[in-house]
Symmetry: C2
Subunit: 298 residues, 2 copies
Amino acid sequence: MFNKICVLGCGLIGSSLLRAIDKKKLAKEISAFDKSKDVSAYLVKNFSFNIAKSAEEAVKDSDLVIISSPLSSYKEILLSMKSSLKKNVILTDTGSAKKEVNKVISNLNLDGVNWIASHPIAGTEFSGPEAGFAELFENRWCILSADKSISKDEISKLEKFWSDLGSKVKLMSFEQHDYVLSLTSHLPHAVAYSIVKTAINDDDKFKNDIIQYSAGGLRDFTRIAASDPLMWRDIFIDNSENILKVLNDYSNNLDEIKTAIENKDGEKLMKIFSSTKKVRKEIIKAGQDTEKPGFGRK
Amino acid sequence: MFNKICVLGCGLIGSSLLRAIDKKKLAKEISAFDKSKDVSAYLVKNFSFNIAKSAEEAVKDSDLVIISSPLSSYKEILLSMKSSLKKNVILTDTGSAKKEVNKVISNLNLDGVNWIASHPIAGTEFSGPEAGFAELFENRWCILSADKSISKDEISKLEKFWSDLGSKVKLMSFEQHDYVLSLTSHLPHAVAYSIVKTAINDDDKFKNDIIQYSAGGLRDFTRIAASDPLMWRDIFIDNSENILKVLNDYSNNLDEIKTAIENKDGEKLMKIFSSTKKVRKEIIKAGQDTEKPGFGRK
């Protein structure tokens, strides 16, 4: 158990953390800060612990500091509060890309700070503190990454924290994290945005029909394409190297389908479509989705 | 109510129709045929009505004949049974593409046959008769298309049939159907196959990690990419003209994201990602998906 935990940035993820830490009593003291006045007002109204006026104030005496704001805000936050960090604090985050952020933090040469990145693979298509809930991390993966200089004891403390929230924890290098996530998360988001942009066009006279009959596939993509734009802008810029590489591989695979359609090459299409069928079973076997038809939608 | 209804092709859709027709007592007599011996054996075991030995035998005396087999099989089926069709029969189908099939049927110059195409926008990622269920069509759209020569009375009879199954019915031209579906269903499937093929590669040493952490977006696509390969091969070949056009538009939209990432153009990315966010609300407002986070997955 930590004496004091501080959460900086209190949207969907940050507010869910606050709710879970509070509910499960994982700290004697909790503090939180969000630079948005609206979010702050929401926090004051809905939580009984200290909502700080600044990141500097929030981090004071905290044993665990969690940055849960967009990637592009890390540097400013760190500069504003680094001199107030408690000696031997564990500093973590909840960001979806790691390599660039790790560079930013390394360049600050923080002394007496145990920087261990966290990435809870949890979230919904909604954003903001009112969308958060304490159970968000239950039975979800959380990936931790740290330099070799960080002691195993400190990593174990953070592992325990995520386990207490109900998550399954995995250690990965910063580089491996960014590669794996470029395929499992970042590519799917780029694709979802593109497809929704292609299909739903205000100038299309059949727009209403396209929305009406979206159950044939399109609606699955609109969920992902509804995610927080600012968060995703930052991910695409931070992990651009991996994302551009996998986008190229993806375009080649799409071109293969295109060519098969142009040539009316049924054999080739059968081969492509059959190869992806078995993947669903592997996803379900790994406990990563429900086997109920249509995600169990009612 | 029809005197006799015949279903040709008894996979997910055909067997669901049989179950629903039986349960809701929409015909005095039901007959069914499937050219697969395994499927036939399943039907004999699980249904009490007549499982015919041929399409020709099945359609005899039927007032409504429903072809529910892959698009590429229509011609053979029609040639084998057209001379056995009852005078003034309603002939329909459940296929996902219409224009080419309509050509095939027009070229056969069927006399005394009311050809009205049906497309129930219903289905799951599973296939085969054991995956079917009577409620599949409830609260789902069914699109009908017919030439102007078909009388309103006959169309009304078929509309009533689908309404009785719980569907909402909409009339559309063959061409409009194929265009709308190329965006709402066919493009999403092409994209899903490509992304799953890109992300899950047996040669990738991180393959297990990619499956393990697929909840960040990828898993949503694996559902669609698990659909019946043969059915989709036929759709891509039949509706190739529309699909190739929308795939080109899609590639252009993807290239726009790629260029913005290459240029680290945050403003452009924000603009793209914000534009797709509102679509989700329109889909939910149109009753086409649940507003629960993550499709309401448990």
